[in-house]
């Protein structure tokens, strides 16, 4: 009784995800025929991880092509509206695939040094990004949960994938436990929303809420729990406590993946739920999210100040970035959403590049690089130091030399100030926080440029692939930092082209006006 849902429509709507997961499974099968451990030919087996990682990159490109084609065709989501087919999904898909491809390159680079990864790690990464892509298109709480878990489960494993490392195991267990708990909150929120509204489709929820004179406590507690769960996932303060430890312990490529791509996906779904699904209730959650953003920005930046461990520093910095991104969700209109997309592109590039440099200077050791490791980098590898500076400045939001990072902040600020209810105070908090962030980013710069190279510190060497990754990321940041229009055009198209199944009940922007009359 496959009513109204022809298999063809589903296939069309989910083609990229299917391609990616299918490819990932092929890679998994390929990996299993790789000799390892005490089997004969294990030495070549280690090579295999690199090969598979490269295939993974190619797969990402292919799927990216599929996404582009789907977008160009104006492919719709599923007819029942549970999977979106709008530009937002496709754009986020592209960012996710970009991040995955770069993370796979990082993986390859790290593997060349430490040989820490089994051949199934690339496919794990691809499976995680399948989950993320599901998240990007999810318009139903069920799909949200499915995507979150698909992503998280793979990433839990990735965090602990270096079996020789106790640090990796500790990171995995912490990430896993916190992740499971946050899933619990998320799920309870979903259950209460389902109980209150009778549906898990965002569209139905919106329509239900729009029809209510007052929102029931059940609904509101569902929203609150959902918010908590999502805040855990995006590592917003005060639900961020797992982040530094997990980022610190996980292998560097995985950390890059977590801090850029996982965050992208989490924010995509956060935005979709809050803006598309719960916009009607905006007056009720608005204040909570406001404080969440403000506290996250402050906490992330302040705690980052005292870190000497570069990965922990970047972990706190990623918390701060989560705060910036939250601002765009609070704004909630099309401008905010496109700012979000632009931001994650820039953030992905900068993060992957920065971790590429960290992998290079770490040389495959099983510990996180510190300021001492990077000190005097300029004296031995000047271009590497310059690239790292670009990435750090991009994090910081410095114009020209920080490239896209500046426009990322610009667009968020613009959205915040242009919104129907301008978020001036948040904007000011954001810039002050950015100024504070300069202190620790520049501490790294100053370590690289102004401190002598410690005795006995080896000269880092890179693989060609990693080198090209770093160079590409830096150049892309710089070029799009002077001419951000293409990316912004993309982001803008993403938020203006909506599929036929998009929610007619809640056009963005007008939502606020409707809800203004909702009595508190």
């Amino acid at each position: 009784m496959p009513d109204a849902m022809s298999a063809g429509a589903i296939l069309r709507a989910l083609l990229p995800e299917m391609l990616l997961s299918g490819g990932a499974m092929l890679l998994l099968l390929a990996s299993v025929w790789t000799p390892q451990g005490n089997q004969p030919g294990a030495a070549e087996g280690a090579e295999r991880t690199s090969v598979l990682a490269r295939f993974g990159v190619i797969l990402c490109l292919v799927v990216g092509l599929a996404v582009v084609i789907a977008w160009g065709d104006g492919a719709a989501g599923t007819p029942d509206g549970r999977v979106a087919g709008d530009g937002f999904r496709w754009a986020v898909d592209l960012v996710i695939l970009l991040g995955t491809a770069l993370a796979l390159m990082l993986l390859e680079a790290e593997h060349q040094r430490s040989a820490a990864f089994g051949p199934e790690v690339p496919s794990l990464m691809l499976l995680a990004s399948t989950g993320m892509m599901v998240l990007a298109g999810a318009r139903d709480l069920m799909f949200v949960f499915l995507g979150v878990e698909l992503m998280s489960l793979a990433v839990y494993v990735l965090a602990g994938v270096n079996r020789r490392s106790a640090r990796s195991a500790e990171a995995a267990v912490k990430y896993f436990l916190l992740g499971a708990i946050s899933s619990g909150f998320l799920l309870y929120g979903m259950a209460l929303l389902f109980g209150a509204t009778g549906s898990t489709r965002l569209q139905d929820i919106t329509e239900w809420a729009a029809a209510q004179a007052t929102l029931s406590p059940l609904f509101m507690s569902g929203v609150a729990l959902l918010l908590v769960g999502l805040a855990f996932k995006v590592a917003a303060a005060p639900f961020h406590l797992w982040t530094p430890d997990v980022y610190d312990g996980a292998p560097l490529p995985v950390t890059a993946f977590m801090s850029a791509t996982v965050k992208t996906a989490a924010f995509a779904v956060f935005a979709r739920i809050m803006i598309e699904g719960l916009a009607v209730a905006a007056p009720r959650w608005h204040m909570g999210l406001w404080w969440l953003a403000a506290v996250t920005m402050v906490v992330g930046n302040v705690f980052a100040l005292s870190q000497r461990n570069l990965v922990r520093m970047l972990a706190y910095s990623s918390i701060a970035h989560a705060g910036y991104l939250l601002v765009s969700i609070i704004v909630g209109d099309a401008a905010g959403t496109s700012a979000l997309i632009f931001y994650v592109v820039s953030y992905t590039l900068a993060t992957m590049g920065a971790f590429g440099v960290l992998i290079t200077i770490n040389g495959g050791r099983d510990r996180a690089p510190t300021l001492d490791d990077i000190a005097g980098l300029w004296l031995v590898r000047p271009w590497l130091a310059i690239a790292m500076t670009v990435f750090l400045l991009a994090f910081m939001g410095m114009p020209v030399l920080g490239g896209m990072g500046f426009f990322a902040k610009w667009y968020i600020l613009q959205a915040a100030l242009q919104a129907p209810a301008p978020q001036t105070i948040l904007a000011v908090v954001l810039v002050i926080a950015s100024a504070v962030s300069a202190a620790y980013y520049l501490a790294v710069v100053s370590a690289m440029f102004m401190r002598p190279r410690p005795e006995g510190q080896p000269v880092p060497s890179t693989t060609p692939l990693n080198q090209s990754l770093i160079a590409t990321a830096a150049v892309a940041l710089l070029v799009f930092g002077l001419y951000p229009t293409p990316i912004m055009e993309l982001a803008r198209r993403a938020t203006t082209t909506t599929s036929p199944t998009s929610n007619p009940a809640a056009p963005r922007g007008e939502v606020r006006l409707q809800t203004a009359s909702v009595p508190r």
């Binding site: 030399l401 500046f406 520049l442 100053s446």
Partner: protein
């Protein structure tokens, strides 16, 4: 002739982009002298990076001359204006142009930087390709600040100065200066990021269609919005130009920085930006009684305080820094008094301060090259040993303390006259600052040049080399020439300052209670 070549179409973009291009060339193609010296490595091919840098800067100076050449003294509005499409979605264009206010700044910058490099040729001897590249980037930023008419482009140029300066000070400065340079960046950044918020808000208020200053000047704002935006802009500019009480980073950074960086730090970019953006964009806020009087009082305090503190310094470089702080007070005074004389005086003061500070820092750098210190206690009686040096120092110092006949006098005189007409009390107090300036200037001269040669090493110091002489003679000549013939600048700044005052008085945001300014002089 120049116009017939269409030079005004490309000269400004060239000034902006050439240094960036040259920076890449220098970094890649330049040769690091120190490596040759150390003999560690076979000398890599290519010319000395310093030579390359200097050549690139010379080209920049030539371009500046061209701009000067195409500038129509009687013209109105922007000259040599170019609009390059850029970010259509924001309404940002790469709009470049100069007027009487910015022209002197552009030329000043384009000349001072190469002279400073030449004058401190041996100040930096390690990793010169990177040094040259950063200097060129910095130059691009400096020039960009003066010639961009679009606020986004301006902001980019403004921030572009930051990181090169940070690295120049931190890497090539005295040991342990990374903290000072970090402080500089952080101070500046807080201000400029607030300005960023204000820029976006302003753009937004203007309909979000254009970031061009001409457009934004026409945007009507509520007094409250104006006030906040003005404060944000002012914060950025005041920190950058080191107005008391935001000046604390300046002496530390300048005294630690390599000479060229100290010179660029001494350029009054912030003061220019206040004249160009903060005042005309938000006139009601700038002319608001409370705001204006606060700033005026601060300016006067800066004049006196800077001079007094300069008197108490034991290091030559710090004296220069504080004199620069003191000058800034005068410039601010002139800017906010906002009479035609005072504005012109402010422009003159920016130029004079730029030249004099450059000269003094170069001289300090020369001392430092010879003795590795600039503390007064290490010197004395140099007049006999270093005659060329002494002459240059005396002239520069006299210009700094505004002796008639030097450029310094023109600027201060105009500012004080303008102020006197409006705020006699402030003018009188500010004048006392000039007297203190004489004290610290003479004291510095005396301690360096005229006491006994009490240190063995000072007896055998070599006088200025030919290269150093060339630089100092150029600078001294400029001081004296502009001192006796300030017309070259005043004539060009006249219209621009008139236009500024008009826009303040008659723009959409004109203050309701007009400041008592007489337009007809």
């Amino acid at each position: 002739m120049l116009l017939s070549l269409g030079i005004d179409r490309w000269v400004l973009p060239a000034m902006l982009l050439w240094p960036v291009l040259a920076a890449v060339l220098v970094r890649i193609g330049g040769r690091d002298v120190s490596r040759d010296d150390a003999g560690n490595e076979a000398p890599s091919g290519g010319p000395d990076a310093r030579v390359l840098t200097l050549a690139a800067l010379a080209v920049e100076a030539l371009l500046a001359v061209a701009v000067w050449g195409v500038f129509d003294v009687d013209g109105r509005g922007w000259q040599a204006r170019v609009d390059i499409p850029w970010l259509a979605d924001l309404g940002a264009t790469l709009s470049l142009g100069v007027d009487g206010l910015s022209l002197p700044m552009v030329v000043l910058t384009a000349f001072v930087v190469p002279l400073a490099l030449l004058g401190s040729w041996n100040n930096v001897r390690v990793r010169t390709p990177a040094f040259g590249a950063l200097l060129l980037l910095l130059t691009s930023g400096l020039v960009g600040v003066f010639i961009t008419l679009d606020l986004l482009a301006f902001y980019l140029a403004w921030e572009l100065m930051l990181i090169p300066t940070y690295l120049l000070v931190g890497v090539w400065g005295a040991a342990g200066t990374s903290r000072a340079s970090l402080r500089y960046v952080l101070f500046t950044l807080v201000g400029s990021l607030l300005m960023l918020v204000a820029i976006i808000a302003l753009w937004n208020a203007g309909g979000g269609t254009s970031l061009h200053i001409d457009h934004l000047l026409q945007v009507a704002l509520s007094p409250r919005a104006q006030l906040w935006m003005f404060l944000a802009f002012f914060a950025a500019f005041a920190v950058k130009s080191a107005l008391v009480p935001f000046h604390t980073w300046l002496p530390d950074a300048q005294s630690a920085a390599p000479t060229v960086a100290a010179v660029t730090l001494g350029l009054k970019v912030g003061a220019y930006a206040i004249l160009r953006f903060a005042i005309p964009l938000f006139p009601a806020a700038a002319m608001d009684y409370t705001v204006r009087s606060t700033i005026l009082v601060l300016s006067v305090i800066a004049v006196v305080y800077g001079a007094l503190v300069a008197m108490a310094q034991r290091d030559f470089k710090r004296v220069i820094s504080y004199s620069s702080v003191s000058h800034l007070g005068l410039i601010m005074l002139g800017s906010f008094v906002l009479t035609p004389q005072s504005v012109q005086g402010a422009v003159m003061s920016i130029v004079s301060s730029g030249i004099a500070t450059t000269a003094l820092f170069l001289l300090a750098g020369m001392l430092e090259d010879r003795r590795a210190t600039t503390a007064f206690s290490a010197f004395g009686g140099l007049a006999k040993v270093l005659p060329w040096f002494s002459v240059a120092l005396i002239v520069s110092m006299l210009s700094t303390v505004a002796l008639p006949g030097t450029i310094g006098f023109v600027g201060e005189f105009l500012v004080l006259i303008g102020t006197y007409a409006e705020f006699p009390v402030l003018a009188v107090i500010a004048t006392s600052g000039v007297i203190f300036a004489a004290v610290y200037g003479l004291r510095a001269v005396q301690q360096l040049l005229f006491e006994k040669v009490d240190t063995e090493a000072n007896g055998a110091l070599p006088d200025l080399s030919g290269r150093e002489r060339f630089v100092m003679v150029t600078l001294v000549a400029a001081m004296v020439y502009l001192g006796v013939a300030p017309h070259a600048i005043l004539q060009r700044a006249d219209r621009a300052s008139q236009a500024l005052i008009e826009s303040v008085r008659f723009g959409p945001n004109a203050p309701t209670t007009l400041p008592p300014v007489s337009l007809s002089r």
